[in-house]
């Protein structure tokens, strides 16, 4: 087993990996940019090293610098988290040269699957159904335009190296193609260091269903059931759940088998995700395979009891998978809490979290990368945390999530919490009518309804005039005001 692992990432996923390592008795090494000296992953790790300026290219994507820290701290493995270097074969190669284990699949699998166009070809060979789209690289806009014309608008521009909605654009008509391609290329270059994009047919009202797959270095392959991630905004997942309301046991088995087949076809030897689009008629299409731990992995952990990060580390250390008899139990939902303003077109919201209080309790888990008093900078992903709940059934989980969202206090920056609550309360969600157009269709005319405005006004008066010191003395009938000398009469 590994002695010390460097986590080449930041935010909630770095904290998640650090916690798993600690429970396994493995020492952890954090790296941080100038903007992250006070970030939670630095506070949680056994060791922490500075790696450069805030810009990701100069810090979290700076491979040489990270390798240098690996050597200095004598780590025997690196966990890349998701994003950043998690699907970078050059980095995996550099680590190998230095006898350091990359905690992820073999480089060939990453390369085959990381290339979204190439992976479509492999799936085609394996007779996995595909959404009509390009299967060849093309750098010319003319070729892209010709293909789009052939399959018919609307089409989707996607980054070949992509994931997480970055570099994705819907194009409704031919004249918008050029701008969309250029914008997708810019985003892709910045996010993945590769501006290759391709075109796919856009399905109408599909569901996004993905399967958690696992392979080890001994030829064993498993899947741990599905996650439904249909609720998206601009191709960014917002709410995920498992099991999906749309799968029968038969369809689940069938899709699971195809997912395992996809993993086997590239000799996959880590945790990974095979994404499908599910049409209303029950037909499903391979979308892409993500060769890393996925943002939404916690919901699978909640219903199966399998710790995916620990398992990923064990696989990398050469251990055999043993997942026989693992079943789905109950229902889990994840809400991604972003630093953004749902009342103002979801603009990112940066700044200091003046006060924060996380929900907790039976079946409530908040995978969080920030804390009360932390500063959210503009440099990185706007995800603050992933609020995850488990309930004995879907309705119990939904109610638990609503209670947890009510208990989640974030003051100072805007977050998606009020928006998430409205999504979960919507009749379409309650009924399981969750298609990828859920948000534009149901949440477009969302109006914030605050019921406690009177109490808020009272609170404002009280806050302005409350005594400066909190707390009451034990054994004393409470008269907190007796300590007030005089009030501020002037405005403040």
């Amino acid at each position: 087993m590994f002695h010390k692992i460097l986590i080449a990432n930041r935010g909630e996923i770095a904290v998640r990996v650090i916690n798993a390592c600690r429970e396994m008795g493995i020492k952890t090494v954090a790296v941080y940019s100038d903007a992250d000296r006070a970030s939670l992953h630095v506070l949680k790790a056994d060791e922490a090293y500075h790696i450069g300026p805030p810009s990701p290219l100069e810090s979290y994507l700076n491979q040489n610098k990270i390798i240098e820290v690996c050597k200095r701290a004598c780590v025997d493995a690196v966990h890349p988290g998701y994003g950043f270097l998690s699907e970078n074969t050059r980095f995996a190669g550099l680590l190998k040269q230095n006898n350091i284990t990359f905690i992820g699949p073999n480089p060939t699998a990453i390369e085959l699957m990381g290339d979204k166009i190439g992976s479509r070809k492999i799936m085609e060979k394996a007779l996995v159904p595909l959404v009509p789209g390009m299967t060849s690289k093309s750098e010319s806009l003319t070729e892209i335009a010709a293909f789009a014309e052939k399959i018919g608008f609307p089409v989707l521009i996607k980054a070949s190296a992509g994931g997480g909605g970055k570099g994705m654009k819907i194009v409704e008509k031919a004249e918008n193609l050029k701008d969309a391609v250029e914008s997708a290329q810019r985003e892709a270059l910045k996010a993945f260091g590769d501006d290759t994009v391709y075109v796919e047919k856009l399905l109408l009202e599909p569901r996004h269903i993905e399967f958690q797959i696992l392979g080890d270095k001994h030829g064993n392959y498993h899947h741990l059931f599905e996650r439904e991630c249909s609720i998206q905004r601009r191709y960014q997942k917002v709410i995920e759940e498992t099991p999906s309301t749309a799968l029968t046991p038969e369809l689940r088995n069938k899709m699971g088998e195809v997912a395992v087949q996809a993993a086997r076809s590239v000799a996959y030897d880590s945790v990974g995700t095979v994404e499908f689009l599910l049409d209303k008629d029950g037909s499903f299409y391979f979308l892409e395979m993500n060769t890393r731990i996925q943002v939404e992995h916690p919901i699978t952990e909640m219903v199966t009891g399998v710790d995916l990060v620990k398992t990923q580390i064990l696989i990398a250390a050469g251990e055999k998978l043993n997942l026989d008899g693992v079943t789905q139990k109950g229902h889990a939902i994840e809400c991604r809490v972003y630093a953004e303003d749902p009342a103002n077109n979801f603009l990112p919201s940066s700044g200091k979290i003046l006060f924060m209080k996380e929900p907790a309790g039976l079946g409530v888990r908040n995978d969080c990368g920030v804390y009360s008093g932390a500063t959210v900078t503009v440099h990185y992903d706007p995800i603050l945390s992933k609020l995850v709940v488990w309930g004995e059934d879907r309705e119990a989980a939904r109610k638990k999530m609503l209670t947890a969202l009510d208990d989640y206090v974030v003051l100072g920056i805007k977050t998606s919490i009020p928006f998430l609550r409205d999504c979960l309360k919507h009749d379409a969600f309650i009924k399981g009518r969750t298609y990828t157009d859920f948000i534009p269709k149901n949440m477009g005319a969302r109006v914030v309804q605050n019921k406690h405005h009177d109490k808020a006004l009272c609170a404002a008066v009280i806050h302005a005039h409350a005594p400066k010191q909190a707390g009451v003395k034990q054994d004393q009938v409470l008269t907190p005001w007796q300590t007030i000398g005089n009030w501020e009469i002037a405005g403040r």
Binding site: L354, A456, L457, G471, I489
Partner: protein
């Protein structure tokens, strides 16, 4: 936060707040507050710098409070209430100020200017792309809201900008 304060009879106070006249006085264990013909007799315990426990006619409200230079924020039973602090120079903070025949485009959030599509003096038509701003790895397009001429450009490609900085001004 307050517009102004005045002492009423019997040690009471009056405050004009968000155009409401609010009367209040302290009681043995909290506050008595009146506005809009409503009356609240609230038992208050301050839990810590950010937390109050209010009990009003048996109903309990745990209120979380925080403030920065611009606003005071309250969290009550899952709801967020934001009260802007008035400053001398301006009214409420606005993201994109439009007056008759003029559009001042401000940065919607701190970020980086990816591309400026217009030049000073250029004519624009409503819906034209003016600039793209990037923050947290996502791009945001800002469009012209009126037909007019570009009067001011205060940024160039690659600039880092703060929120509320005026980037471009367009006049009809």
């Amino acid at each position: 936060m307050a517009d102004y304060w005045e002492l009423g009879d019997c040690g009471q106070m009056k405050q004009y707040f968000l155009d409401k006249e609010i009367e209040f006085n302290k009681t043995d264990n909290g506050f008595h507050i009146r506005f809009d013909d409503q009356s609240f007799d609230i038992d208050v315990t301050k839990i810590d710098d950010h937390t109050y426990s209010l009990i009003h006619q048996g109903e309990g409200f745990t209120v979380y409070a925080a403030e920065d230079a611009a606003n005071t924020y309250f969290h009550i039973r899952g709801e967020i209430h934001t009260f802007p602090k008035k400053t001398e120079s301006q009214g409420a903070v606005s993201i994109d100020e439009e007056t008759a025949g003029e559009q001042s485009i401000t940065a919607p959030m701190p970020g980086k200017i990816v591309k400026v599509f217009v030049k000073a003096g250029e004519k624009v038509i409503k819906g034209d792309k003016v600039i793209i701003v990037e923050a947290m790895k996502m791009e945001h397009e800002i469009l012209a809201k009126l037909d007019g001429t570009v009067k001011e450009i205060n940024i160039k490609d690659g600039d880092l900008v703060d929120a509320l900085k005026v980037l471009v001004k367009i006049v009809a």
